[in-house]
């Protein structure tokens, strides 16, 4: 390992700490990209421009669903089978990017999606899509609680643990397990989102 942590596999000390650069919790280079994403949403809502709203919704939603499915159902199970140092090394590079990407694309998707639903009249009780949208709100609500209440705090705690002189492998293992299980849950919930959204779009 060059720039990653020297991890104590059982929470014990294994040797002198390796001199390594600190992991940036939020990659500063990515902030302008996130700002552009958020600016697109603000423009779309403020202008009520249909194309801008749909662009923001589709880009945010496509990435959100794709990333959740891939991370939850592909990356997660692979991570679960890796050794603790390998998990730690992967996390050091992966988690900071997720900290920035996920809130941005979720905001792009949800804020514009709500406006589109209003604009198309899908929120009115007379709309055939009304019940599907409420189901979608419930799925999204569940995902928000799991992602913001369990997954994201674990992600950030892992990064901080990795920045210690001698990170605890046992603690990283515990926090990563949280990540793996909740990411799997989110992946499964995204399948429901796919069903609902394709159903709404095909009516």
């Amino acid at each position: 390992m060059t720039d990653t942590a020297h991890v104590s596999t059982q929470g014990g000390y294994e040797g002198p700490p390796v001199d390594r650069p600190r992991i940036q919790v939020v990659p500063l280079k990515g902030l302008p990209v996130a700002a552009v994403g958020l600016a697109i949403v603000v423009f779309a809502i403020a202008s009520n421009n249909k194309w801008a709203l749909i662009f923001s919704h589709v880009v945010g939603g496509g990435l959100w669903t794709g990333i959740d499915l891939f991370v939850g159902l592909v990356i997660g199970p692979i991570l679960g089978r890796l050794s603790i140092p390998a998990r730690a090394e992967f996390s050091a590079r992966f988690m900071p990017k997720m900290v920035l990407i996920m809130p941005t694309i979720v905001t792009m998707n949800l804020a514009s999606g709500f406006q589109i639903a209003r604009k198309l009249g899908n929120l009115t009780t007379g709309s055939p899509n009304h019940a599907w949208l409420i189901a979608s709100f419930c799925v999204v609500g569940g995902m928000v609680v799991v992602a913001l209440g369990i997954l994201e705090p674990a992600n950030i705690a892992v990064i901080h643990e990795m920045n210690k002189k001698v990170p605890s492998g046992e603690r990283i293992h515990r926090l990563m397990n949280r990540f793996i299980y909740t990411a799997g849950m989110l992946g499964v919930m995204q399948v429901a989102t796919l069903v609902i959204m394709t159903r709404v779009a095909s009516r």
Binding site: Q10, Y13, N48, F137, L148, G149, P153, A157, L175
Partner: protein, 142 residues
């Protein structure tokens, strides 16, 4: 670390009050409230239900803050360091949601309830993140 078997347990491995569960519960209540408010849009949602959910969320959040303040030995500098940045991020996010509701002409009591729900949202998530991070931090690492 592990050589000192008689030493007190590291701060990170000590039991803490269920602060993250309470703040996540608060988030859950305001999310349900938000779903109810949004599902009635553009009509006015049943405000009693939404208010009850808001109050439940606020009570859990205040309970979490109360328990947090009673913790003696804690990595407070790490907590506040993470909390302030997370708060900034979630205030921006809550501000965007508020902007969308204002744009949709939400006014009066409904707007007040949504705004207070967003306040609970924008504070509960940073507390959850900061507490989860600080509980595993060493007291002297900052």
């Amino acid at each position: 670390m592990s050589d000192h078997t008689n030493a007190p347990a590291p701060v990170a491995d000590r039991p803490y009050p269920p602060i993250a569960w309470l703040t996540t519960g608060a988030l859950g209540f305001v999310v349900i409230g938000g779903i109810i408010m949004a599902s009635y849009s553009p009509r006015v949602a049943p405000l009693k239900t939404a208010t009850a959910l808001l109050v439940a969320g606020a009570v859990l959040l205040l309970g979490a803050v109360g328990l947090l303040l009673r913790i003696g030995e804690f990595a407070w500098s790490r907590f506040f360091k993470v909390f302030k940045w997370a708060l900034l991020a979630y205030v921006i996010e809550a501000g965007m949601i508020e902007f969308a509701f204002l744009k949709d002409q939400l006014r009066g009591t409904s707007l007040l309830i949504v705004t207070l729900m967003l306040v609970v949202f924008a504070t509960s998530v940073p507390i959850t993140i900061a507490f989860t991070t600080a509980r595993y931090a060493d007291l002297d690492e900052d």
